[in-house]
């Protein structure tokens, strides 16, 4: 069931993992949420992004050994995995939520991640709660 034509993404990122470049967000609406470190990724923020209507949520974190605060990327991964299980349990499909190790300079890889997410959404479908969101 197609609810809106332009997929909505929310992108949480460590300040060292992402830098927006022109045309990076072609064919989608993206809300970016900047974090001082990936360790600030919280379960509730990821879920609220879906409540706010996101079809997919991406978390971009530094390479595991490149985190300035040592364990931020690892902590973020664990929280993302936990929320993925919640999404699966409630029938939202955990594949809507993904985490990637990136660096701010690697805009090509980030663009690729976004485009692959849009392709994946064609299979996964739009946010199933969206039709009923207030």
């Amino acid at each position: 069931m197609e609810i809106h034509n332009t997929p909505k993404l929310t992108l949480f990122h460590c300040i060292n993992s992402f830098e927006e470049t022109p045309s990076m967000f072609d064919n989608c609406q993206v809300k970016t949420v900047k974090m001082a470190c990936a360790s600030m990724t919280k379960d509730i923020h990821l879920l609220r992004a879906f409540e706010a209507g996101s079809d997919a949520v991406l978390v971009l974190v530094c390479p595991d050994k490149g985190c300035r605060y040592a364990q931020g990327s690892i902590r973020a991964k664990k929280r993302v995995d936990y929320v993925k299980t919640i999404l699966d349990d409630i029938g939202m499909d955990g594949r809507r939520l993904s985490i990637f190790n990136t660096t701010a300079k690697d805009s090509r890889a980030i663009t690729d991640i976004i485009q692959k997410t849009l392709v994946a959404l064609e299979t996964i479908g739009p946010n199933p709660a969206l039709n009923h969101l207030n």
Partner: protein, 222 residues
Amino acid sequence: MITGSQKPINEIIKLVEPYKKVLILGCGTCVKTCFAGGEDEVAVLASALRLSFKQMAKSIDIEELTIERQCENEFIQEASPGIARNEAILSLACGAGVQAMAKRFAKEVVLPGVNTTFIGIQESPGIFTEECSGCGNCSLAIFGGVCPVTRCAKKLLNGPCGGSQNGVCEIDPDTPCAWHLIIERLTTLGQLDNLKTYIPPKNWNTSLSGGPRKLIREDHII
């Protein structure tokens, strides 16, 4: 502290499904520490329930509140207005908290959102271990502060069994042998002679096996 883990989300969905207005009530003491029922867990559960019910096109109003402790009347009062606004309370407290709420709000539906597990400690971040069975007759002084009633799978009181190998219990390689720990600790304390003390068969009347218990402090009763 009392430890617990949140019930599976699908079990919780079934519990709250009949109601249109639900208060998710967290408890800010024990279950908060073990990540089962504090403010963060209340928020995550509320969000997950909202998403779940929206997919089913079911209307449900979820209110969130966390009080300091659900097992004490002084703190429970704080939840009264929220309880009055809702049809059911989903308590994320331990079993004692849930029952305290049910006792205090006799005409309200109180649902448990947490499976209470044991009295324990946080061994390391994210790992909780059972340390006390609440047997009602503490002998930790003899055992160097390590409880064989709780931590020995066979509850042996007069030394280890033959199944202890390299300090590990035969029932589970992840479980340290309580008696190995006791002997190590008594050695450190220079109290190995404690092992010569014969411990008679335990009187379980003081434990839950003797029926529900009551603690009375006359000096606090007016």
